[in-house]
């Protein structure tokens, strides 16, 4: 038997509550089904309003679902409650688009990366300090960054810190919401390389959301395209790229190819 997938989502429906007398709104996510195998990266693309963030928030249990199932590492993820849920949530690390908004500007990098560890009950001391230094080093930053403050570093460095913090509790699944959209291409390349290294060295599974189909086509093993709440494509990345089933996906892929194709 093959090992349980990291994430197995079936017929997921998410609907926001309307006002008391307002008509029932359309679902934000309309019956999504997909799997993420362990050690793989699933790319999610779609225009704004297509339901990407709602999907991530539901997987993080920050949003109730109307129907459907989510299994995380074989576990019935939607059934977990209270302390069991809080503990299990550590299996998921999160990195968001704007690193500066998610890092407190006045804290040092060491304090930022320590936050989740302290919240999970770790004690201050040399062991903690060592662990933080190792995390920061794994994310490509030298030890002299530990005492700098978030407001003194560049966007690419801030995103490395955000990744280090997301990995602090050694999650098996990393959720990244537009992690390179605010970065220059040279820095984007550095971060994509870093993610590939971490996937390899830590056996991480990743959910990578972006509006940039070329970025996700490069780093993902499987690809999911959303439109207005519907999953319009899901499959191995090479297969989707080679033969997109939907005109929408073809348009996204062809953007910027005019001059490049000569």
């Amino acid at each position: 038997m093959s090992p349980a997938p990291m994430l197995d989502v079936r017929d997921l429906v998410i609907r926001y509550r309307a006002g008391l007398f307002a008509p029932r709104p359309k679902p934000a996510v309309n019956g999504a089904s997909f799997r993420l195998e362990k050690g793989e990266t699933l790319g999610i693309v779609g225009e704004s309003g297509s339901g990407k963030t709602s999907l991530l928030r539901a997987i993080l249990r920050l949003l109730p679902v109307e129907s459907g199932t989510v299994r995380l590492d074989g576990q019935d993820w939607l059934a977990l409650q209270g302390d069991a849920l809080r503990g299990a949530r550590q299996k998921i690390g999160v990195v968001s688009q704007n690193p500066f908004l998610s890092l407190s500007p006045r804290l040092t990098i060491a304090e930022i990366v320590a936050e989740p560890l302290l919240a999970a009950g770790a004690r201050q001391g040399p062991a903690l300090r060592e662990k933080i230094a190792a995390l920061v080093a794994d994310c490509g930053l030298t030890a002299d960054f530990l005492d700098r403050r978030a407001r003194e570093i560049s966007g690419g460095q801030a995103q490395r810190v955000a990744i280090a913090r997301a990995l602090a509790l050694e999650p098996g699944l990393l959720i990244l919401d537009e992690p390179t959209s605010a970065l220059d291409v040279s820095v984007q390349a550095q971060i994509l390389n870093l993610l590939a290294d971490l996937k390899e060295s830590r056996g991480l599974s990743m959910l990578f959301v972006t509006h940039n189909l070329k970025v996700v086509a490069h780093i993902s093993d499987t690809l999911l395209v959303m439109r207005r709440g519907d999953v319009i494509e899901f499959g191995r990345t090479e297969a989707v790229i080679a033969a997109p089933a939907e005109a929408y996906t073809r348009d996204l892929l062809s953007f910027g190819r005019k001059a490049a194709a000569g």
């Binding site: 225009e47 953007f255 190819r257």
Partner: protein
């Protein structure tokens, strides 16, 4: 004669910590009817070049140039007079460019009234015509709307219609699609191309996105650390780049490498704008750097109308 003719533009901005060299030596020659892309990483001086051309450089900024001309007029004296008449601006965030508490009808009318003497009914027709020219399907309904009732793509079309209403024939578009979805951004770029073809507009397109250059521009200029380092027809710049920086930028794109392979990241970062630079600004990061590179300003290399600044001889590029 190029419509916009800039040679060695330099913009220094006073700050409490000393002078910031926001633009060091930018040259831009833009012919009528062309969409000219200006590309480079953040902080390389794209926006400040556009702002100086619009007469909107910060207070106290020192602007120097060997040439800084628009249609024969010296921009050092005339930029403010030309803005809103011949030179229009399309910014990244259309929501910020529109007034949230006024209807689109009112905002279009304000612009039309400032530039033309027309009776009220004719102004209303003109507003509807301009909105239709930007591809908005139901101009009457858009006129009755407020900005928040329109999508980002529709708002950007209204901003373009306002620029057309001023009668401007030269538009400076600073990252006009960055805040939009890819498919919506592609439609806005197609609209700009159509307006250039139909109305003889000329566009300076500022972007950090090579796909936008490939999709929309005729010629492109690459900026690095406040200098224009390469310029030429888009096909030449993208397919046979001469400058090692342009080549590095293109190689860093995710579609430049096979699926899953490591990307060719550019190590290091741009020099801070207060640094003094004697030779080539890219030397600390350049895989081809030679001793002369850091010491002396690089000479111009050329292949037809495609030029770049580099110590490497043309055949080694």
């Amino acid at each position: 004669m190029p419509l916009l003719d800039i040679s060695d533009l330099c913009v220094r901005i006073p700050t409490p910590e000393g002078e910031v060299h926001a633009v060091r030596a930018v040259s831009l020659r833009i012919e009528r009817g062309e969409i000219h892309g200006v590309i480079g990483e953040s902080g390389c001086g794209k926006t400040m070049t556009g702002m100086a051309t619009l007469g909107l450089a910060p207070k106290g900024a020192r602007i120097e140039a060997a040439r800084f001309h628009f249609d024969g007029a010296d921009l050092r004296e005339q930029a403010k007079a030309l803005r809103g008449k011949r030179i229009g601006m399309i910014a990244q965030d259309p929501a910020a460019a529109l007034n949230p508490v006024l209807s689109i009808a009112r905002q279009m009318d304000d612009v039309i009234r400032a530039h033309r003497t027309l009776p009220r009914e004719a102004r209303r027709r003109e507003a509807a015509d301009l909105l239709a020219a930007t591809g908005l399907p139901d101009p009457g309904r858009v006129l009755k709307s407020y900005p928040h009732q329109l999508s980002g793509g529709m708002q950007q079309r209204v901003v373009i219609a306002q620029a057309l209403a001023t009668g401007a024939d030269f538009l400076i578009a600073d990252e006009p699609t960055t805040a939009l979805d890819v498919s919506v951004g592609a439609q806005v770029l197609a609209l700009l191309r159509k307006l250039v073809a139909e109305r003889g507009l000329t566009v300076l397109m500022i972007t950090h996105d090579m796909d936008v250059i490939a999709e929309a521009c005729d010629r492109a200029t690459v900026l690095y650390a406040g200098r224009s380092v390469e310029t030429g027809p888009v096909e030449a710049v993208l397919q046979k780049p001469g400058h090692p920086y342009t080549r590095a930028l293109l190689a860093a794109l995710p579609d430049a490498a096979p699926h899953g392979a490591r990307l060719a990241a550019i190590e290091g970062s741009i020099p801070p704008p207060r640094t003094r630079i004697a030779g080539c600004a890219f030397a600390p990061r350049c895989p081809k750097a030679m001793p002369v590179c850091a010491a002396e300003p690089p000479p111009e290399r050329a292949r037809d109308r495609h030029t770049w600044l580099c110590h490497l001889p043309e055949d080694a590029a």
